[in-house]
């Protein structure tokens, strides 16, 4: 099986600090990490290769520094990494991002399965996985908790939805997105990490993937962010309740009644 895992570098915060005035989180995005859902996608790709043989390639689009997560992917067991990085990719929305990734997947060639995390924690859109499938005109299956191989050309997936799940059989080639419950991602070993330091990471530009420049980056993106603002403050103060358990319960019910909730 030839598998491509699409990953993304996202900003991360460490400690939760709450602004006492707005009751909102004070965000300090000091470092970049691999999108947490992508760990599950990578692990699933590596496990499928361990079971059925083949090759796993990690693919990302981002600034040159995004190379770090490709090395991390190599440390976790993928065979190679490809970085799409170029001025022309900048400012892409989900349409243009999924177009570029789909073109790269076409360029890689003979890919059976593309695995993405459910969504990225910065944009939270969950649109890029299905977008890639649409650009490639492949089958898709989203929010997977399980991937099994039925035969050479068909995978049997467990798709999570709001009220439970279904079992869906999908013919390859296909694009899937996975949720956290699908596996327990391994932690990189020192050997793996040392090997990743010298691994070759390929850098691809728009011309390497035969992409139409018009459909990349800002110019290829149908949407524009016209305004960003912090959310409204939550509340001005916290009502603190202390006392015996019974007093606490009574006071809470009273507070809820004040708000016409009970």
């Amino acid at each position: 099986m030839k598998i491509v895992v699409c990953i993304k570098q996202v900003p991360a915060s460490n400690d939760a600090k709450i602004d006492p005035q707005t009751k909102r989180i004070i965000r300090d995005t000091v470092k970049s990490i691999m999108n947490p859902f992508d760990n599950y996608a990578l692990e699933e790709g590596v496990r499928l290769r361990e079971q059925f043989g083949g090759e796993v390639i990690a693919l990302t689009m981002g600034p040159p520094a995004a190379e770090a997560i490709l090395r991390e992917a190599v440390a976790l067991g993928v065979d190679s990494g490809i970085l799409l990085s170029d001025r022309n990719f900048g400012g892409s929305d989900t349409w243009a991002t999924s177009y570029a990734l789909a073109k790269a997947i076409e360029k890689i060639g003979n890919v059976d399965l593309v695995i993405c995390g459910k969504q990225a924690i910065d944009g939270d859109t969950a649109q890029v996985g299905p977008g890639i499938a649409a650009h490639l005109d492949w089958q898709q299956a989203t929010y997977l908790m399980e991937i099994k191989r039925k035969d050479e050309r068909v995978i049997r997936t467990k798709r999570l939805h709001e009220n439970g799940y279904d079992i869906c059989e999908v013919t390859l080639p296909a694009v899937v997105t996975v949720v956290k419950g699908i596996n327990t991602p391994r932690v990189p070993t020192l050997k793996g990490r040392l090997a990743s330091l010298t691994a070759d990471i390929m850098l691809w530009k728009p011309e390497d993937i035969d992409a139409n420049i018009e459909q990349l980056g800002l110019s290829g993106s149908p949407t524009r962010v016209v305004k960003t603002e912090p959310p409204a403050p939550r509340t001005s103060s916290t009502i603190k309740i202390e006392g015996t358990p019974q007093q606490c319960a009574k006071e809470l019910v009273r507070q809820l009644r004040l708000r016409s909730i009970v």
Binding site: R27, A134, T238
Partner: protein, 336 residues
């Protein structure tokens, strides 16, 4: 890029709602979207169309909720959710009827379906909107959505493309009061041979028996964390949830400890929820959890430690032992 001129844009009219149908029943998110769509259409002076795809759809005439036109595709091949089939049908109908705006639920199904449609129609898609407005002059949809776990609200436009597509977070828009005197037109559409897919099938469907009410549908979530100490603690949460008709949520730490399945996890690697009430029991409030629930209307925290981030964010913070307070709370509610 393929942008549309003003003249081309003028051909696109009306606001579509892509309804959600399960086992023939129309799900409430459909009615919520109709309320939002009605509001936009009234400002723009256009119509609301409800688009329903399913098998043996019950009571498909959604005029009372604000639809002017119901576009029905009722076929046994639409019993289960086949992304590619629904997106092909929808893309074809878009080309035929040229809607200006399309709204769909930001549900597992909507989020799988609508990006395919947006890509094949080369139009803008904004995910998980919580506010919608319209520029009445040019029909531009002003789509506001939270990003970075709700820490930023971004407003997005797609001025040069039509239709404009938005998925809308469930339970944010209000279901309109039904007006049974309203009437409208029903259009029946069929699946064409070119829509058909034969390389994907749904073999089985399971409903989660663990919680009758799921997180996405709940108005109240009772959530437990490390301080819940184990399965017995979650049993207590379940009792309270049953009493108030709520769902049980959990922090990552509790899920990773194996006390409750992953489907209950709230937060960055779980679900984002926006309920009326969120009761956090023994959850210290790591940032990854807070971003998943900070948009709930009323946050109540119960913890032995009064200084945790969760206790600071909460609207009501109760310092104490959940194992003592929750039984008292259930008692209090029983007495009413």
């Amino acid at each position: 890029m393929i942008t549309k001129t003003e003249i081309e844009k003028a051909n696109f009219r009306n606001v579509w709602v892509i309804g959600e149908v399960e086992d023939g029943n129309i799900l409430p998110v459909t009615h919520e979207l109709l309320g939002a769509a009605r509001n936009l259409a009234d400002k723009r002076g256009s119509e609301v169309w409800a688009v329903l795809m399913g098998n043996s759809i019950q009571n498909p005439h959604l005029f009372a909720f604000g639809a002017d036109v119901c576009l029905l595709v009722d076929d046994q091949r639409l019993t289960h959710f086949i992304d590619e089939l629904e997106s092909k049908i929808l893309s074809r109908l878009i080309e035929k009827y040229l809607p200006e705006i399309i709204l769909c639920g930001a549900t597992s199904r909507g989020r799988a379906l609508i990006p395919r449609v947006a890509v094949s129609s080369y139009c803008g898609l904004t995910a998980d909107c919580t506010q919608l407005d319209i520029d009445p002059d040019n029909g531009d949809l002003l789509q506001t959505r939270p990003a970075f776990g709700g820490n930023i609200l971004a407003t997005i436009r797609s001025s040069n493309h039509r239709p404009q597509i938005a998925s809308v977070r469930p339970r944010v828009m209000k279901i309109p009061q039904p007006d049974n005197d309203r009437d409208g037109i029903t259009i029946f559409e069929k699946i064409l041979p070119t829509d058909e897919i034969n390389n994907k099938k749904v073999v089985d469907v399971y409903h989660d028996s663990q919680s009758a009410i799921n997180l996405a549908d709940a108005e109240i979530i009772i959530a437990g964390g490390r301080g819940t100490h184990g399965k017995a603690g979650f049993e207590l949460l379940r009792q309270l949830a049953q009493k108030v008709g709520g769902a049980v949520g959990a922090s990552r730490a509790a899920v990773d400890s194996g006390w409750i399945p992953y489907t209950h996890q709230v937060g960055q690697t779980g679900q984002t929820v926006q309920t009326k009430i969120y009761i956090a029991c023994g959850i210290s409030g790591q940032i990854q959890h807070l971003v998943g629930m900070q948009s709930c209307d009323l946050i109540i925290a119960i913890d032995k430690n009064p200084d945790t981030p969760m206790m600071q964010m909460a609207d009501i913070a109760i310092t104490g032992d959940m194992f003592e307070i929750l039984p008292e709370l259930i008692n209090e509610i029983n007495q009413r």
